[in-house]
């Protein structure tokens, strides 16, 4: 399935959005961990995890192909679990999150886009599913 392109059509917009979040989350977590890691280790580590997932998702969407598609599905699923989990935790266990992360409060600080992105990503991946079963 060499011709599976994940970065054309709606995928093009998706790659841009994921790219922006990859850069934003990476910048934020690196800065947080570099300047004040002790303040909120859990929140900052989760920021870094989010950054890595965004980077992986962006890369896979860009590369395409069957393997890229598979890894992108895993990345988007982790992202969905992450934003829902961290979003819920940030309301319940406020002491773990003295400072915000990309995912806390379901991405409120980012216009809830972090909550929308994984759904958009998974929907797009579903639409571009490779026809031949992997094997």
């Amino acid at each position: 399935m060499r011709d599976v392109s994940l970065s054309s059509g709606p995928g093009r917009l998706l790659v841009f959005a994921y790219g922006v979040f990859a850069v934003a989350a990476t910048g934020r977590s690196v800065l947080q961990l570099a300047t004040d890691a002790g303040r909120a280790p859990v929140a900052y580590s989760l920021s870094l995890l989010a950054a890595v997932i965004y980077l992986v998702a962006t890369t896979c969407l860009l590369l395409g192909g069957r393997r890229g598609w598979l890894v992108a599905v895993v990345a988007c699923t982790l992202e969905l679990v992450g934003v829902l989990g961290v979003g819920a935790l940030s309301y319940v266990a406020t002491d773990l999150f003295p400072d915000k992360t990309v995912w806390s409060h379901f991405g409120q600080g980012y216009g809830y886009l972090p909550l929308v992105l994984p759904f958009a990503g998974l929907a797009w991946l579903r639409a571009t599913r490779p026809e031949v079963a992997p094997g």
């Binding site: 054309s8 059509g9 709606p10 093009r12 917009l13 959005a17 800065l31 300047t35 216009g111």
Partner: protein
């Protein structure tokens, strides 16, 4: 900073009109983008100069990374959009303009918070 906000909102509206009409971005749009980018580059220089001169307790690394970041969005978005001149390509321009607005508001916030 106000100029950037006004210009980027105008750009977003212009691109949104193209999106609704299902037209691809032409030269006027790219001239507009170039003007915004020029203002963003001026902002980058002025921002660094003002940061060096200010008495405010502005977090320098954060502020400069936003200044640089906001100036990078449009060129990347424009090239990414030009690679596919379709409605999706135009949507990328809209997303880029929106990103500039979001970053600009945040940039403003960083500067104002530091003065409080």
């Amino acid at each position: 900073m106000g100029a950037v906000l006004v210009l980027s909102v105008v750009t977003l509206v212009a691109v949104a009109v193209l999106l609704v009409r299902d037209e691809t971005a032409g030269d006027p749009t790219f001239v507009l983008l170039a003007v915004v980018e020029l203002v963003l580059l001026v902002q980058l220089v002025l921002g660094v100069v003002r940061l060096a001169a200010t008495d405010r307790d502005v977090p320098g690394v954060l502020f400069v990374s936003y200044l640089v970041g906001v100036a990078l969005v449009l060129p990347i978005g424009a090239f990414w959009s030009l690679a596919e001149r379709s409605r999706a390509g135009t949507a990328v321009l809209a997303a880029a303009a929106f990103t500039v607005i979001a970053l600009e508001v945040r940039l403003w916030g960083i500067w104002v918070d530091a003065g409080a």
